[in-house]
């Protein structure tokens, strides 16, 4: 049983609006967003996706360094293209970057500034610049992330000779997923372990060169219930690149080994190579888990059930691990990423594929207030663990539940390179969950 969009209004927000995708641009090294919007948009969106999300700061050219028109009443009344043209012109002189992405906000989109025309003039001069209309009313920043990628695909990428073994990975959305950069590093390690070469588009090893190389890939790998699918389809249409859609984030040995087998098969890798990698990784994982097993089984007041409040990627990845590997039982799974209705059935279906015929009930709502009400209504024996955002700290305290922040916004943790992905990420998640429990004793 599922619940479709329950409420128009939203309390305790988990994602922001389309324009939030400027953070995806910031995730590419030396790529520079140019924001054509009102004066507060960047500061507001950066709060949920940055400063209150694992305390991710401005980085190379984020925050107050982002060129922005700060559109005022004058631009709203008389049009903002002149100001935008000035800001773009001067950005090329002032900011040292390799790719520039113009993103619009509500003011520009509602009054109908022709941002495409302004940008094309710069493109005609050979400048590395693309534009995308991301007025906040168009949807979430996850949709915005896809729009930015589509803009890059349409306006920037050129056909390339295919390089066998090169893989583009589309998964954790930069900044929206608090652990995105660590996740990307872990996914790259997993993919590399099969002898493939990840094309690193976001994060510490990214570059605009990698963007240029997107059409070179042997295939696109979408590890996500829905975000990024349209981009993979787009790349298939435009460059003929095939793609593999793997809906679950691989967390823990069961899912990660399945994942490696699926990728290996799709890429045409000798199964013995894949099995060799899996065996070594699982041995390492179980070495540590064996040591933890005493405490996992013998400590008082261990959580038996878990509630997840997260975007579909993390909710599914974490639920699969805790159920299939750790023997916990999923209570309701709240999916907060405003999953488009056309994907809700397929996302829900993934929550029925667990060990022992366990089904995790999914509730789709981006309204944290509604989620909180639902959590308070649950009748749960034992102390559950709530895996959500820092919004859930209050309800967890009230219900005497354990709480770990795994999903945006996370204000109560500093997150740097940490990730819950793969074999190693699962160990990290076990450490974090059971440290919450053990800290409660002393």
């Amino acid at each position: 049983m599922r619940t479709r969009k329950m409420s128009q209004c939203v309390e305790q927000i988990r994602h922001v609006c389309t324009l939030g995708a400027f953070e995806s641009v910031l995730a590419i090294k030396r790529a520079v967003p140019i924001v054509h919007a009102g004066p507060g948009c960047v500061a507001k969106l950066w709060t949920t996706l940055g400063s209150q999300n694992g305390h991710q700061g401005s980085g190379y050219v984020g925050g107050h360094a982002i060129p922005c028109t700060n559109a005022s009443e004058k631009e709203v009344v008389f049009g903002g293209t002149d100001q935008l043209r000035k800001v773009i012109t001067n950005t090329f002189d002032v900011i040292d970057g390799d790719l520039f992405v113009v993103l619009t906000g509500c003011t520009s989109d509602i009054i109908g500034d022709d941002v495409g025309e302004v940008t094309r003039k710069f493109q005609d001069q050979g400048k590395p610049i693309v534009y995308v209309e991301t007025g906040g009313f168009k949807g979430s920043n996850l949709v915005g992330h896809e729009l930015v990628l589509d803009a890059i695909i349409d306006q920037y990428l050129q056909p390339q000779q295919v390089e066998p073994g090169l893989v583009n990975i589309w998964s954790s959305v930069p900044y929206q997923n608090t652990f995105w950069s660590g996740d990307i590093e872990q996914l790259n390690i997993l993919i590399s372990s099969l002898g493939l070469k990840p094309n690193v588009i976001f994060g510490p090893d990214s570059s605009v060169e990698a963007l240029n190389n997107i059409p070179k890939a042997q295939f696109n790998l979408v590890i996500s219930p829905w975000v990024g699918l349209r981009n993979a389809e787009h790349l298939e249409d435009k460059f003929g690149t095939p793609f593999l859609h793997y809906p679950a984030l691989p967390v823990g040995p069961t899912e990660t080994s399945n994942f490696l087998r699926a990728v290996g098969e799709f890429a045409g890798i000798d199964p013995s190579v894949v099995e060799n990698v899996i065996r070594k990784q699982e041995e390492r994982y179980f070495y540590y888990l064996e040591r933890a097993a005493d405490t996992l089984l013998e400590t008082r007041l261990l959580p038996r059930r878990f509630i997840t409040v997260a975007d579909s990627l993390y909710a599914l990845g974490i639920a699969r691990f805790l159920t299939n590997d750790m023997g916990l039982i999923p209570e309701k799974q709240f999916i907060t990423d405003d999953t488009p209705i056309k994907f809700q059935d397929s996302v829900s279906a993934e929550f029925k594929k667990f060990t022992s015929d366990i089904v995790a009930e999914t509730v789709f709502s981006n309204d944290g207030g509604f989620v909180e009400e639902e959590i308070r209504k649950l009748k749960i024996r034992s102390r559950p663990i709530i895996l959500g955002s820092s919004w859930e700290r209050v309800v967890a305290r009230d219900l005497n539940a354990y709480q770990l922040s795994v999903s945006a916004p996370i204000g109560n943790e500093m997150v740097l390179s940490k990730s819950y992905v793969g074999y190693n990420g699962a160990l990290q998640l076990v450490e974090d969950i059971y440290s919450v429990v053990l800290n409660d004793f002393m």
Partner: protein, 502 residues
């Protein structure tokens, strides 16, 4: 300009206070131009992301304990709510309260609402807030989108108000309306003054309204005021609607920040007969002396104040001597909102430091009592003329200037600014708590904070060696205010004299 509470919407600072976001010159020139009424805003040919008034309005109102907010806009307009909540958690923690989340609902305005109007979703949002939170009042904050499509939100709100029987109050704070984010404070206070504050039934001569933010200094102020026979009433955050309705009963209002308090203080004075103390801000010794002395004059406690200050001077003298000795001649750049910036410039000069540049993110040519801000006027009284600019968090100007003047330290106040000095190897302090450098003890603590920052700068040095700034070499060679379109802008040679030679 008198404050008119019959209007539903506050007049923005640009029009009411002749506020600006672009200027470069010196403090004496700035004060002279604002007093003669010829101060003009200078626009920029290049600009970087700033803040909007909605953030100030919504953030400030969200910590009223029994009110709710409906933010009428696309979901991103509630992007700062996670930050407001973090602040709210801290404020509850320092009061030993059970922590709960802020009560803000966003109407999640979609393309459909933009095309067909958002009145219906606003109504739903208000009803939902009423049902969920059982609040004593609901504030509706507007957005760029709701402002441009021209929803008749006031009639929607009147109808819902009649239905639910609690005040449903508009707070007009569309981001594009004002370039001065502090206009959002005025919008919040206008909503309170026009719909929540009631005429006093009885006056309480011992009561002083203290306008602040998180209010970490409550215990210290309560103690000081107690010595004077006064009782502070802190707010507006962490107050409830009933308490705010009785702010008119106080003998005076005083503020921790001139930018913050101007509208509320003067509104209470003009409309409810509560005098507003327009003193310097209580940061540093001279500021605190003035703040407390003017309060004493307003409520007839001159003698008590004089005695208290004399006593404090003696106690603090040895510590202050030590601090002044250690900080003498250290070069500092300040970057804050106008009231804090101009108060901190004075305070740091008082400590014997040399303020080589003062950035204020905006500047109000006057405050609501009609005069030029006291903290600015005060700075014109010293011999030297301090170079200043009004640069709304314009990072390119700040970094360019820092790279030229190379101060010993940067002292800032808003998130996302001080970090840039650190990346350049310059030690930085962020004054996030409004009671930093408050009074005698606060001044001594802050002096030691500066000394500590100067003592070990390894983090900044290590970062600066490995981190590249996003600015081109070309830009760093330009005049920091190259993009500022100011008619009487100082010539580059003159500017260099101010900047490079120091």
């Amino acid at each position: 300009m008198s404050i008119n509470l019959n209007l539903s919407q506050v007049t923005i600072r640009e029009k009411r206070l002749k506020s600006i976001v672009g200027y470069q010159g010196t403090i004496k020139d700035l004060a002279e131009q604002s007093q003669s009424g010829c101060l003009k805003n200078a626009s920029r040919g290049f600009s970087q992301a700033t803040n909007c008034n909605s953030g100030c309005a919504q953030g400030y109102l969200s910590s009223i304990t029994d009110a709710a907010i409906v933010n009428h806009g696309p979901i991103g307009c509630a992007g700062d709510v996670a930050g407001a909540n973090a602040g709210f958690q801290w404020g509850q923690r320092i009061r030993d309260w059970n922590q709960r989340n802020v009560r803000i609902i966003n109407t999640n305005m979609s393309e459909k609402a933009v095309v067909f109007g958002g009145d219906q979703i606003l109504k739903e949002g208000i009803l939902k807030a009423y049902e969920r939170f059982n609040p004593k009042a609901i504030f509706v904050t507007t957005s760029c989108a709701s402002g441009i499509i021209g929803d008749d939100i006031e009639s929607t709100m009147r109808n819902v108000e009649a239905e639910i029987g609690i005040p449903v109050v508009p707070v007009f704070c569309e981001g594009f309306r004002s370039q001065i984010w502090a206009s959002g404070f005025d919008a919040a206070f206008h909503a309170l003054l026009s719909r929540i504050v009631k005429p006093a039934e009885k006056k309480r001569p011992e009561l002083v309204n203290v306008i602040n933010f998180a209010g970490s200094g409550r215990a210290v102020i309560t103690e000081i005021f107690g010595r004077l026979g006064l009782v502070p009433q802190f707010g507006i955050p962490y107050s409830n609607i009933e308490e705010i309705s009785r702010w008119s009963e106080a003998a005076a209002t005083i503020s921790i920040c001139g930018t913050l308090g101007s509208y509320m203080g003067n509104g209470l004075e003009q409309n409810f007969g509560v005098p507003y103390v327009t003193a310097l801000q209580p940061h540093g010794i001279s500021g605190f002396d003035d703040w407390l002395t003017k309060l004493g004059e307003t409520v007839g406690k001159e003698k008590e104040v004089e005695e208290y200050l004399a006593e404090q001077k003696v106690i603090a003298a040895p510590d202050l001597e030590e601090i002044k000795f250690k900080l003498k001649g250290k070069k500092v750049v300040v970057g804050m909102g106008p009231s804090f910036a101009h108060n901190y410039i004075r305070f740091l000069e008082d400590l014997g430091m040399e303020v080589v540049w003062g950035f204020s993110w905006h500047y109000d040519a006057k405050h609501d009592h009609g005069g030029c801000p006291s903290c600015t006027v005060e700075l014109t009284k010293i011999d030297k003329d301090i170079p200043v600019s009004v640069s709304d968090q314009q990072n390119h100007e700040v970094i360019n200037l820092l790279s030229k003047v190379k101060p010993d330290i940067f002292i800032g106040r808003h998130p996302g600014m001080s970090v840039w000095a650190t990346k350049m190897g310059i030690p930085a302090i962020m004054v996030s708590d409004e009671y930093s450098a408050f009074g005698y003890q606060g001044t001594i603590e802050f002096g030691h904070r500066i000394i500590d920052a100067l003592t070990n700068n390894s983090l900044a040095l290590n970062l600066s060696k490995r981190i590249q700034l996003p600015y081109t070499e070309w830009w760093l060679e330009q005049d920091p205010f190259e993009f500022l379109k100011q008619k009487n802008k100082r010539k580059e040679s003159e500017n260099k004299k101010n900047v490079a030679v120091r």
